[in-house]
Structures are given as C-alpha cells and as structure tokens.
Amino acid sequence: MQSKRKIRVLIAKPGLDSHDRGAKVVARALRDAGMEVIYTGLRQTPEQIVETALQEDVDVIGLSILSGAHRALFPRIMELLKEKGLTEVMVFAGGIIPDEDVPEMKKLGIKEIFGPGTPTEKIIEFVLQNMPKKA
C-alpha cells in the first residue's frame, strides 16, 4: 500500500501585534498548493507555538511577526524546538524583519525570511524544495 503523505504546516503569530493579513494570505496559498495548514490565531507564546507543532506533528513552521520582537521571540522558539526534539522541523519567517537582522535569524536555524511583497508562489516553491525528509 502506498503512503499518502501530506505536508503539514503550522502558521503561527508569536508576540503581540495583531496584523494577521500576511499570515492568512500565506496560509491560504499553502492550502491551495495542497498542504494541510494549521492556523492558531494571534498572540501566541513560544511555548504555545512549539507545543502545537509537537501535537500536530508538522513538517514546517511559518512564523509571522510585525512587532519587532523577533530578536527576543525567535531564539526562544528555536531553543524550545531543540529542547522538545523537534529538530527536523523546517522553520521560515515573514513580516517586518530588518535586513541587518536576517543573518542573525538564519544563524538560529531559521531557513528563510520573506519580506513584504514576496509573491506567494515563491514561498510555496521554497516550502516544497526545503521540506524536511522526516522518517
């Protein structure tokens, strides 16, 4: 019997800003590309995001942030993922993240950062190409 694998993606909004248009557009684009997208709503703590990723056994996490708190929240999320053994999960981010912060974010293990104006096709293609090979 063939395995019917689906890509499962968590789209999460850490921190306190309530601008979720971008997150919803990306969620919808990934859904229309045939993925199963879990969206958890606004104002998630790093603990909530990582626990949700664990329970939902996602392959990919997309973080959307526009509050400027990425330098505090992203390291915590990456640390918790490691702590819980979710090292295979691919993480990408989007929103307002200044160019000078990008190298630091990538060093944390965030695979890519998408700024405003990124075509959704580019994000879909990126997810498909960088899907972790999970057991």
């Binding site: 019997m1 689906k6 969620a27 859904r31 879990i38 664990l54 329970q55």
Partner: protein
C-alpha cells in the same frame, strides 16, 4: 518510513502517554503507512478505557468554542482529555485549513490535554478515515476523555456514530431555517442535544422545536435525549452538560452493556474485511492481466462496468462454489 523497531518505540511511547509519540503515531495512521496496522495491533489491548464523545452540528454553531469549555470543565474535575478536531479537505486542491485550535489556544500548554487537527482527506461523513484510529491512540495513551469534533455537519454526516459512544448534537439559534439544519440524520444520532448561544433571542424556540421533534419519536427508548442550553463564550451550562455526559456513560455501562460498541466493532470488522478482500481481488486480477483487459473493453463500450465486475467475480469464485 519508520522501521519496525521505530514502531515498537512509538507504540510504547503512546502507551506511556508520551506526547511526541502520540503525535507521530497519528501521523503514521493518517498517512496510511504500511506500519499503521502494526501500530494499531500493538496498542489495541490498551484501548477501551476512555469515554469517547462525538460533537457534531452545523458550521457556526460553536463546536470548537464549546469544546474548549468542556475540556476546561473536565480538567477542573481532574480528567485528562484528548481532542481530534476535523476540518474539510478541499476536493480540488487536496489542501486544508485547520483552524479549530484558534478557539482552543490556551489549552495547548496544558499537559493533560492533547489536541490534534485533522483534515478529512475527502473521506465522507464528517470525519476522516484516520479519526477512528486516532481516537484509539489517544485512548491507549490513557486519556480519560476523548472528544471528536466533526466538520460542520448538516444532515447526513453521521459517520461519527462509528467512532463515538456519546453523541452531542449542537445547534444554535439564528443559523437559518431553524431546525431544518438538523432534521433527518443528526436528529436520530443524538444522545444529547445542546442549543448553544442560548443568550440569543429565539433560543427558546430552538429548544421547543427540538423537543417537539423528539416527541414525534414513537419508538420507546430507554435513553431520552435531553435538550440543554449553553453559552459557550461564557461557559454557562457547561457543568450541566458534563453531568449529562457522565450520566449517559453510566447508562451505557448499565443498560445496554455495550450494544453500541458491539455495533461499532462489527462495522469496523466488516469494513476491514471489505478493504482487504477488495484489494487482494483487484491485485490478483491485475496480476492475471484480466483487470487491464476488462478496462479496455469498458473503454471500447463493449461491456458496462457493472456487468464486467460480475463477470470477473464469477470467474474468480466459480471454483469455490
């Protein structure tokens, strides 16, 4: 693909209640991986302890919000809870947007709660093919209560009866043509009715409508479905709902001694035999080349599919007769 030792490890993890193992086990089942059957066979003896509750009703009636409050109330009473929340898969793209957790955000860091979102993957009837086995995983993992939230269901999405012991049908006033939304199928499967958003006008009318419908049931039943009022946003009426859920569970244990679970086991066995039989027959026909041959004849309009199937099966089972 996980190897056998990995499956052993995961099933042991499930029985020990390890959350990562539970999550991975559900994925294996959802993907219908070859290991899924082994996994279920390993955990099966640990199932049967949880109270399995199905919650169904039309879109916008407040299922997710109510579940959040139900889970909280159970947690207050010291019970651990598993939730499987089902949302529809798009028949066009195969993708799905799973948003039930939005209403359950704060539960995600409670260690006594495990929530899993699940897409139907085009399985009909309001749940996913994997829902039943996902429930078994949560049951084997020691959850006292397992709640299944179906997709927004109208009339015929009654597949949930194959999964749950106690079925709660939820309705809300102002969802259109009053009781139309829950007329045929859903009316018949309910063990408990809930009129949610009971603070709205017309709530009383919704309750009276359901009660009137129930009175038309001429068949005498040992369990008469109660009609309850809740306001999921505030939690009003939820403790009373939990009381009724417990009452129904006691009733099931006392009165019908597992009549429903016998029915569920039977359905499951029949379905499993069907799947295996069909698969092996088709495989054999393909090996013999008869399948492709017949397919060509159907394409050429020499024979219709139904007659072709009859002919193929006849030739296959002739010897046995």
């Amino acid at each position: 693909m996980p190897e056998l030792s990995k499956i052993e490890e995961i099933s042991q993890g499930v029985v020990a209640g390890d959350r990562r193992s539970i999550a991975r086990a559900i994925t294996i089942i959802e993907n219908d991986a070859p290991e899924a059957k082994t996994l279920i066979s390993k955990i099966y003896s640990h199932t049967g302890k949880a109270h399995i509750i199905g919650l169904t009703g039309p879109s916008g009636s407040g299922k997710s919000t109510l579940i959040e409050k139900i889970v909280r109330e159970y947690r207050r009473r010291g019970k651990s809870v598993g939730v499987v929340a089902v949302d529809p898969t798009s028949p066009f793209t195969g993708g799905a947007f799973l948003g039930d957790r939005i209403r359950m955000q704060e539960l995600s860091t409670d260690e006594g709660v495990f929530i899993r979102s699940m897409a139907t993957r085009n399985y009909p009837g309001g749940i996913a093919k994997a829902t039943r086995d996902a429930v078994k995983i949560l049951d084997a993992a020691g959850k006292d209560i397992v709640i299944v939230e179906t997709v927004g269901a109208g009339q015929s999405e009654v597949e949930i009866i194959k999964v749950a012991e106690t079925i709660v049908v939820i309705h809300a006033p102002g969802l259109g043509d009053d009781i139309q939304a829950i007329k045929a199928g859903l009316m018949e499967i309910a063990d408990i009715f809930v009129v949610n958003k009971a603070d709205r006008e017309n709530a009383e009318k919704a309750i009276t409508d359901i009660q009137a419908m129930l009175q038309l049931n001429t068949k005498e039943k040992a369990w008469k479905p109660p009609v309850l009022k809740t306001v999921a946003l505030t939690g009003e009426g939820v403790p009373q709902l939990i009381e009724k859920l417990e009452e129904h569970r006691t009733f099931l244990k006392r009165e019908k001694i597992g009549e429903k679970s016998l029915l569920r086991a039977e359905t499951e066995l029949v379905e499993a035999i069907k799947e295996k039989a069909v698969n092996s027959i088709i495989e054999e026909l393909k090996r013999e080349g008869k399948f492709q041959e017949t397919l060509q004849k159907i394409m050429a309009k020499e024979i219709d599919p139904s007659s072709a199937a009859e002919k193929l099966l006849h030739s296959k089972f002739k010897k046995a007769k």
